[in-house]
């Protein structure tokens, strides 16, 4: 179904459920929203600081093997990309997407803030303001383009049972743990709660409550249907795969979602890294590949970007693991992306090339990547508003085509 037909279909079928004239306000809004072709940006956070050097492997650099005698990915196992860099073998599911030029890698990228605290670094990356703790909202909330007229209640969605910092902010954002359970399971009580939270003088609970019930009503039309991923896509079992599947569902249902956030934890590999990393990356890459396959032509409007709070020490530690480091990698996926390429300057692994003599140095600021996606893909006019105080002095990475 072409995008145009899809939109018409949504509008007419949704209206048919209620009958002309009795369609509630939100549905008129949703139909309105559906009239426009929505661009979607999906952000994935690998919490715990993934060991980038063992994911995007600089197998062409002997120093890499010298620094990591026990945990380096052997040359023979690396999925080679360009003679210098290769993928961890668990990223096999992403190779075809890379080859189709819909997946780009940015290496030696991250936050310029020197902190090695998970808490601070995640906070800075989610707020989009390294070093600045007073920022109240997340970069994805600020990235939502201005809309005149009715807006969808689910413009910003965070997967899981807490609302991620990245999407928090003045524009209503919702947390969805599981689409099927996103409702009060009793219509009469649901209406009572709705009116209670709609009118309560408690400003905070009023805000969350209103957002909740607007979203509940909008998602009702899809939440009770059985979902079969398209194109034979198979999401792995587990929380992250489920998150990706639900994001895909919401994109296809055209409910007006513009930004989505999901996370996957467990990357803090201080001890015995190899098996943990292999397992996590398998789950990670299978989920992303299934998402790409499931969405098919919808990927024309979708860009997905991954990040992690910082990288890990270039040298392995005493426990076949790695400690907290500095720069890392980011992945960007989607049809609008000029993929099949490793972006970013390689800083090298010589002792004096390393950050503080121990970690991969930073050559690209994560905000360079994100501001390009925000302006060129989402169509947000003012990158300065999304990343206050940040001036991108370098020329564009040219990640987004057109």
């Amino acid at each position: 179904m072409s995008p145009l037909n899809r939109r018409v279909f949504l509008k007419s079928s949704a209206l048919a459920m209620f009958g002309i004239g009795s369609a509630p306000h939100w549905l008129a809004r949703a139909a309105e929203v559906a009239e426009r072709r929505k661009k979607v940006l999906v952000a994935i956070f690998q919490r715990g600081a993934v060991d980038g050097l063992n994911v995007i492997v600089p197998y062409g650099d002997q120093l890499y093997y010298d620094l990591r005698p026990n945990i380096a990915i052997p040359k023979a196992d690396v999925i080679q990309l360009d003679g210098r860099f290769g993928l961890h073998p668990s990223l096999q599911p992403l190779k075809a997407i890379y080859d189709a030029r819909r997946l780009a890698i940015i290496d030696a990228v991250g936050s310029p803030d020197p902190t090695r605290s998970h808490f601070d670094a995640q906070d800075y990356m989610e707020s989009g303001t390294p070093g600045l703790k007073a920022t109240r909202d997340g970069w994805m909330n600020r990235a939502l383009p201005e809309i005149k007229g009715p807006v969808s209640p689910v413009r910003a969605v965070s997967l899981g049972n807490s609302l991620a910092r990245t999407v928090r902010g003045p524009i209503g954002a919702i947390a969805v743990n599981n689409l099927a359970e996103f409702q009060v399971r009793d219509t009469a009580s649901s209406m009572t709660f709705e009116s209670m939270y709609d009118k309560t003088p408690d400003k905070v609970l009023n805000g969350t409550g209103r957002e909740t019930f607007e979203a509940v009503k909008l998602l009702q039309s899809i939440q009770n249907q059985k979902y079969t991923p398209a194109n034979g896509a198979q999401y792995p079992q587990g929380r992250f795969g489920q998150s990706m599947e639900q994001i895909a569902r919401m994109i296809k249902a055209n409910v007006g979602m513009e930004v989505a956030f999901a996370d996957i934890g467990g990357w803090d590999t201080h001890v015995n890294e190899a098996p943990q990393l292999a397992n996590l990356l398998r789950d990670f890459s299978q989920s992303l590949a299934a998402f790409h396959q499931d969405l098919g032509e919808y990927m024309d409007d979708v860009v997905l970007v991954t990040m992690s709070e910082f990288g890990r020490t270039a040298k392995e530690n005493g426990n076949r693991g790695t400690d907290h480091g500095h720069a890392n990698y980011m992945l960007v996926m989607g049809s609008p992306i000029q993929g099949g390429k490793v972006y970013g300057d390689w800083p090298g692994l010589e002792h004096e090339q390393l950050y503080e003599g121990r970690d991969l140095n930073l050559t690209t600021d994560f905000r360079d990547v994100l501001s390009e996606l925000v302006t060129k893909h989402l169509g947000t006019r003012d990158a300065e508003k999304v990343f206050p105080g940040y001036k991108n002095n370098r020329r564009s990475l040219a990640l987004v085509s057109g």
Partner: protein, 604 residues
């Protein structure tokens, strides 16, 4: 190496992170009306008022009641709680006994393979033999049709039950099955558990908590340990008379957070909470800090047990099968979190070099036999004997185990620690953005008393800010607080707490399962989102309709007008808006659930 310097002024900036969900500053100067003081105290210092609590406090006197809560040893414990805790025997076991009585799958495999001897205790031995037997037969059946594995072992079944009984067990109604179970002696039930696939989950679905516990112990003993922790925590929150101690235990466990599902911590968390946290929540901060630093649970969680001096002898180290291999370097994990989370706070003025120096001090602080009895041990061969400088203080070479103790002493007396701890307590007990003057007063007490936590609490509880309108109902309940307060308000009888613990997880607070060392935020914003809010509403309805397994609410207590029920649950009138919404709902049975799910009940 470039070092990182963090200025201490940013503490107030960190506060701005929290969206304003409490009152404006001048409300902290306005006194709370006298008649609201008791409800306020019950909301803050307990998991919510139970029917009759307000009158009890009135009778004792508010001041006296608070003083009692600050001295929990002087409060007689609720016999109802003690009865509920009694079957949860893993909570009181010594480490080695716990590991033996509730063996892990790895342990059973080791016994089955003959690598580890059978336990000597006869009843443990019987358990191991059966589990090993089951493990072996599963191994043998591997490769067979999976559906065959689900078939009960008929030969064994006929040894235990008569033909009629087998028919009931397999095809009878729930009532018939329950009657059958009641009629069987204990040893038969135990045999049945082994004879039926999956421990006979279907037959035992309606069995008593004792029998279900037995089933779990004989099929997946390791899970009993986690389950006892969850259930124990919930029973205490709902039934304990020492409510403040329970609130504080929750607070301090979260402050020194560890993660239940990380390897050996599956067995170490029980003792950690019981021996390192609980006895110290109203004692000296330094005692709790040292107890956590030397607890196998923390040493394991933050990897310090494997941190070794880079200069340590790298040949054949300590013997024993459980000795960690491949130890060759420093691990900074504990050192960093000690400074950032446990003591100074993220803006406490330490550098990356301090983190490294602290890590060097703690080399050699390790665990003796992490999977067998696990106890703290200092291993001099792993230790870095050189001199160190921590936060400007020189620690001379050759200090051994004292290096780590010296670090704990330095950070305990550092002003940033007094401030950080006071801020966190005030955020938990007063308001998301606690007034700086209050935090300063508490920090002063902390420093003056050498970190006496009871005195710090007293400063808070006698402050003008605590008894102000700015603090009144300013906090959004955490999921645990919401659930426990609902159970307390309705006088619910909880016989199985496991399902309730899962609900709390669905609301965003899996108990003992916060992966990150940060723990959960003490601010209400952490809990406010749509998915969690819907869970709260669904929980409130399910509780009052008796739709939650293991929990019963006497429906008569839920009878009443919306106003009467609101007074009973909230000790205050609901807003006209809430009253109106409830009045429009004509399904009477829901009223109690609607109040527990209302905006008003989400605050404390």
């Amino acid at each position: 190496m470039k070092s990182r310097t963090i200025t201490a002024v940013a503490v107030s900036a960190a506060i701005l992170l929290v969206p304003v969900i409490s009152a404006s500053a001048d409300l902290f100067h306005k006194k709370l009306p006298k008649n609201e003081e008791i409800v306020h105290a019950l909301n803050r210092l307990t998991f919510g008022p139970r029917p009759g609590n307000v009158e009890q406090v009135k009778k004792i006197g508010l001041k006296k009641w608070i003083d009692l809560q600050l001295h929990p040893d002087n409060i007689a414990e609720n016999p109802e709680l003690l009865a509920k805790l009694k079957p949860l025997d893993s909570l009181t076991m010594q480490q080695a006994v716990l590991e033996e009585r509730y063996p892990s799958p790895q342990m059973i495999q080791a016994v089955a393979a003959g690598r580890t001897p059978m336990p000597t205790d006869p009843s443990d031995r019987l358990l191991y033999e059966r589990l090993a037997q089951r493990y072996k037969s599963r191994l043998e059946k591997k490769g067979l049709d999976a559906s065959k594995l689900a078939e009960p072992d008929r030969a064994k079944l006929t040894d235990i039950l008569t033909g009629d009984q087998i028919r009931i067990a397999e095809k009878g109604t729930a009532d018939e099955r329950a009657a059958l179970l009641k009629s069987l002696p204990n040893d038969k039930i135990e045999q049945l558990v082994y004879a039926l696939p999956g421990g006979g989950r279907k037959l035992f679905a309606d069995a008593s908590p004792e029998i279900r516990r037995k089933i779990l112990q004989t099929t997946a003993p390791q899970q009993v340990v986690a389950r006892d922790l969850w259930e124990g925590k919930l029973y205490r929150a709902v039934y304990s008379n020492r409510q403040l101690a329970e609130e504080l235990t929750d607070f301090w466990f979260n402050h020194f957070n560890i993660y239940l599902d990380k390897g050996a911590d599956r067995y170490l968390t029980t003792a950690y909470e019981r021996d390192a946290i609980r006895p110290n929540v109203l004692g000296k901060f330094s005692a709790m800090l040292k107890a956590t630093a030397q607890s196998p649970a923390m040493l394991f969680y933050l990897d310090n047990w494997q941190s070794v001096s880079p200069h340590a002898f790298t040949g054949n180290r300590r013997g024993g099968p459980n000795a960690p291999k491949r130890q060759r370097g420093l691990n900074e994990n504990y050192a960093r979190e000690l400074l950032e989370l446990h003591t100074l706070g993220v803006d406490g003025g330490y550098t990356q070099q301090d983190v490294i120096e602290v890590a060097r001090c703690f080399t050699g602080w390790t665990i003796k036999d992490p999977y067998r009895g696990a106890s703290f041990e200092f291993n001099p061969r792993m230790h870095d004997p050189g001199g160190k400088t921590v936060l400007g203080v020189k620690i001379p070479a050759g200090g051994g185990v004292d290096d780590g103790l010296k670090v704990l002493d330095i950070v305990t007396h550092h002003p940033a620690t007094a401030h950080h701890i006071s801020f966190e307590l005030a955020q938990r007990f007063v308001a998301d953005n606690p007034p700086p003057a209050l935090v300063d007063a508490m920090a002063k007490t902390f420093q003056r008393t050498g970190g006496d936590l009871r005195e710090v609490m007293k400063t808070m509880l006698t402050s003008r800010e605590f008894w102000s309108q700015g603090a009144y109902r300013a906090k959004v309940k955490s999921p645990l607080e919401m659930v426990a307060s609902a159970l307390r308000a309705t006088g619910a009888d909880m016989t199985v707490a496991f399902g309730i613990a899962n609900k709390i997880g669905d609301m965003g607070e899996p108990l003992y399962r916060k992966v990150e060392p940060t723990g959960y935020s003490n601010a209400g914003a952490e809990w406010l989102n749509s998915a969690a809010l819907l869970e709260r509403m669904n929980f409130a309805l399910a509780l009052t309709r008796n739709n939650l397994p293991g929990v019963k609410v006497d429906q008569q207590t839920l009878d009443g007008t919306p106003d009467a029920l609101a007074r009973a649950f909230l000790y205050t009138a609901v807003s006209p808006q809430t009253r109106q919404a409830i009045a429009a709902n004509n399904e009477r049975a829901s009223v109690a659930g609607l109040i527990l799910g209302s905006p008003e009940f989400q605050r404390r």
